[in-house]
């Protein structure tokens, strides 16, 4: 049990540091959703399933969607390979 808690907390803190240190903003949004996922797992371990479901749906789902849509509107999406943001095809 202690190894699960240690892994989840280390993952969450590492992803939080990555949000501030990464240059690519789309990767920073992905790291923020990993932080939400880690916090949601911690809520499950603390016997709070209602809050875990809300955090997963709102934090890892809706918040990341809103952030990515705002990035597209600002024109700041930059993929690692190739030049501009190709988001027309599936």
């Amino acid at each position: 049990m202690i190894w699960i808690a240690l892994t989840v907390v280390a993952l969450t803190l590492g992803a939080a540091l990555l949000v501030l240190l990464l240059d690519n903003l789309l990767a920073a949004v992905a790291a923020a959703s990993v932080v939400s996922l880690g916090v949601s797992v911690m809520f499950v371990i603390l016997q709070a399933p209602d809050v875990a479901m809300t955090e997963a749906a709102v934090g890892a789902g809706l918040s990341s969607l809103i952030l990515a849509l705002a990035l597209r509107r600002l024109g700041l999406i930059r993929l690692a390979v190739g030049g501009d943001a190709g988001n027309d095809d599936a």
Binding site: I2, L13, A16, L20, D23, M42, Q47, A48, G59
Partner: protein
């Protein structure tokens, strides 16, 4: 669950809040400030739920009406439910403001946007802009650091 797991979770919650607030204070890019705000809110909610935990208790949902089990505190969970939804509302509004700033001032670097805002205000008030050479030398603000002025929008 033992005390050491509690200590690990408390370190995680305090660390998340500290990283979030550090991100808001230290970042120069407006979008990264919104991301750091999201992290700080997650840390604060975790701290609230940790305050309601009870040893060897189950979730506050009645599964068997006959047996009575010790349950964790449902009141902080209701508070955090509200706090999470309010957090996403605040983030959405902050992002619309960031989009509007980018449309108006053309940059997302905080210092350059602030300087252009100051120029706008000076032009509207009719005074000489604070950066122009017509001000006495002691009253002029220091120029921006060289990297920020050269590189334009820098992802800090």
């Amino acid at each position: 669950m033992t005390t050491s797991i509690g200590v690990i979770f408390f370190i995680g919650a305090i660390g998340l809040s500290a990283i979030g607030i550090a991100g808001i204070l230290l970042s120069n890019h407006l979008f990264r400030m919104v991301l750091a705000l999201a992290i700080a809110e997650a840390g604060a909610n975790l701290l609230l739920i940790l305050a309601g935990y009870r040893w060897d208790a189950v979730a506050p949902i009645v599964t068997d009406p006959r047996t009575a089990h010790a349950m964790v505190d449902p009141v902080p969970q209701a508070m955090v439910l509200t706090a999470i939804v309010i957090g996403v509302g605040v983030q959405a509004l902050a992002l619309t403001l960031v989009i509007r700033t980018r449309q108006r001032y053309g940059t997302l670097d905080m210092r350059m946007a602030r300087q252009r805002m100051q120029d706008d205000l000076d032009a509207a008030a009719g005074v000489t802009p604070s950066r122009s050479l017509e001000q006495p030398a002691g009253a002029r603000p220091l120029p921006l650091p060289v990297e920020a002025a050269e590189a334009g929008v820098r992802h800090d």
